[in-house]
């Protein structure tokens, strides 16, 4: 509490009045000393709680780096990042590109579902929807966002593939990238919709009113004023959605099969990075072997990809906050 007044006056949510009351002879301060000690202990404990998250990050980074370095002693990183064949389950070829292309295919399919639908939903919710419609639509999106991914995987495998895809596209296999990608798209749709809606909600009313005053229709205001004004926030939601799709595991494990393929066929099996990790771990792998270590090399690649996407998304959000405050 020594520098309470000056040093912390600027902190948000922290009162500048935190300095300890001045001791006065008339007050009985016999409890003050123990109070100060426990104050400091509690402060230290809370600081430790706050800093634990750093430890988590350090833990993730160290585990991934150590095991990946170990892996690169056995398999050269050049082979790993340029190899076009992945037969790790037989402990032979470790070229990660087929897994990356599987992951990217899932991301592309899911984006094709989630981007247009999410953006249109956001426009509707932000600009058009009457209160009665919002009262139904918002909770529905929340529930959709809360459905466990294993349920989406089951849905893709037992409904989307046999009831929607196979009747129209008979070449579709039981396990295929298309149904998994569609399910991932449904999973991330609520996120795209609600984050984009937030961005549109932050566009000042005056901008809309100016356009209306010039005779624009509601559609023109929505698509030519609000959407461009909220664009960085909308893009941020897209990027975050891609990151989510890249990291999605269970849907891909359940519905997309387990065949790594450099040029993946959307109607056939693929293996993504995440589903490789689960496929290996579900089998019996000895700790420390090449197959075991490959998990961490794939995990590290995945981690770097999603982290980069998340940072890009945060930058975009920060930019759109600056504009209207």
């Amino acid at each position: 509490m020594k520098d309470g007044f000056v040093g912390q006056a600027a902190a948000p949510g922290v009162s500048p009045l935190a300095a300890a009351p001045p001791a006065q002879a008339a007050l009985d301060l016999s409890g003050a000393k123990s109070r100060n000690v426990s104050e400091r202990l509690i402060g230290a404990f809370l600081f430790a709680c706050g800093s634990l998250s750093i430890l988590t990050t350090v833990g993730i980074v160290f585990v991934l780096i150590f095991e990946t370095i170990e892996f690169f002693r056995l398999v050269s990183p050049i082979d790993f990042y340029t190899g076009t064949e992945w037969t790790a389950l037989f402990d032979r070829e470790y070229g990660v590109l087929p897994l990356v292309s599987g992951t990217l295919l899932i991301a592309v399919i899911s984006m094709a579902v989630a981007l247009p639908l999410g953006l249109m939903s956001a426009i509707y919710l932000s600009e058009y929807a009457p209160d009665r419609a919002r009262a139904v639509l918002k909770p529905t999106l929340e529930i959709l966002a809360g459905v466990p991914t294993i349920v989406y995987g089951f849905f893709a495998l037992t409904f989307i593939t046999p009831n929607l895809l196979q009747p129209i596209l008979p070449q579709t296999e039981v396990f295929n990238a298309l149904s998994a990608g569609i399910a991932v798209g449904i999973m991330i749709l609520p996120m795209v919709a609600s984050l984009s809606e937030d961005a549109m909600g932050a566009v000042p009313r005056a901008l809309r009113e100016g356009a209306y005053a010039l005779g624009a229709t509601k559609l023109e205001v929505s698509t030519r004023i609000v959407v461009p004004a909220a664009l960085s926030g909308i893009f941020a939601s897209f990027v975050l959605a891609i990151s989510r799709a890249v990291g999605e595991t269970m849907i891909v494990v359940v519905a997309a099969g387990a065949r790594p393929n450099l040029v993946p066929n959307p109607f056939g099996q693929i293996q993504a990075m995440t589903s490789y990790i689960v496929a290996v771990i579900s089998g019996d792998t000895s700790v420390g072997g090449r197959v075991y270590l490959s998990l961490f090399a794939v995990g590290a690649t995945l981690f770097v990809m999603t982290l980069a996407l998340n940072i890009v998304s945060q930058r975009m959000v920060a930019r759109f906050r600056e504009v209207y405050q």
Binding site: L17, P148, T149, F296, F303
Partner: protein, 299 residues
């Protein structure tokens, strides 16, 4: 452009009525499209629930929650998975709740505005975006192998706690931030210490929001499959966990296991298991919504 320019040349008012009508029609068509896109979510949710209920309804019975898993679908149940979920989630809550709320109090009430706090805050939002399967690898590397806890309940729970910690911190921070400054100032003016202000004034006022966020985070943990698969929850466990170091399985992993079997009966069993899982999640969400409605205050 050229039409407008021409009409200006001959000083005749342009015929705007047909263009205006076209713009209005355009507006109405796209409005319908936007509404349709939004209702897609409702339709998907309805189809998803309906297809699962149709798949699993006939297999729904009390046997499902009183029996152990079995190789014969007509005898199989979810008991060990339910107990496993109960163990893992309780432990996760015990670990993640105090740490998460403590971190939120630190960041909102204590932290000075310096580089370390900024790093903490950025780090927490980045952790929230790390794929859950990577948390699984962390748990496998640290808890299972480095600490030697093995493929046990405690390894799973600690991994889950780290996974939902950022979510709890962010939700609690928002709840604490919503408490008005005047409340703190009143307490400080009466000579309360920083902890007394946080403990007796801020925390009670923010508690409904914190609890809502926490319950939602826990219900996310209940549905998580991938990290626990990586940490080593087994697919076939026919006993209930009795201690922290026992092997375990959880609801979504049992469902995953059944989904992967080739026989049709197991697919129906998986659908019935999903119904049980969704009922559990629905119950938790209902509690969260109730807390939000009942105790939330507008300042």
């Amino acid at each position: 452009m050229s039409a407008a320019a021409q009409s200006r040349d001959v000083l005749v008012a342009p015929d705007t009525s047909s263009r205006l009508r076209r713009r209005e029609v355009q507006g109405r068509v796209l409005r319908g499209l936007f509404a349709g896109a939004t209702s897609f979510a409702v339709i998907v949710l309805a189809v998803l629930l309906l297809s699962i209920v149709l798949d699993g309804y006939d297999w729904l019975s009390w046997r499902l929650i009183t029996e152990m898993p079995s190789r014969r679908p007509e005898e199989a149940g979810l008991l060990s998975a339910l107990m496993g979920t109960l163990w893992v989630i309780s432990l996760t809550a015990i670990v993640a709740l105090p740490v998460g709320i403590g971190a939120a109090i630190y960041l909102e009430e204590y932290a000075p505005r310096n580089w370390w706090t900024r790093i903490l805050q950025t780090n927490i939002s980045n952790l929230a975006g790390v794929p859950s399967v990577v948390y699984g690898l962390l748990g496998l590397g640290v808890f299972v192998n480095l600490f030697g806890l093995g493929r046990s309940v405690i390894s799973g729970a600690l991994t889950m706690a780290l996974l939902i910690l950022p979510v709890i911190i962010i939700a609690s921070q928002e709840a604490i931030r919503a408490v008005p400054l005047s409340l703190r100032q009143g307490a400080f003016a009466l000579g309360a210490t920083r902890w007394q202000v946080a403990r007796h004034h801020v925390l009670p006022a923010a508690l409904p929001g914190i609890l809502t966020g926490t319950i939602l985070a826990l219900s996310r943990a209940i549905g998580e499959t991938a990290p626990l698969l990586v940490v080593g929850a087994a697919g076939y466990i026919a006993f209930n966990p009795n201690s922290l170091t026992d092997q375990f399985t959880v609801l979504p992993i049992q469902i995953f296991n059944w989904t992967g079997r080739p026989q049709d009966d197991f697919k129906h069993l998986a659908a019935a298991g999903i119904i049980v899982l969704l009922v559990v999640l629905l119950g938790m969400n209902a509690v969260a919504i109730f807390l939000r409605q009942r105790f939330s205050k507008r300042w």
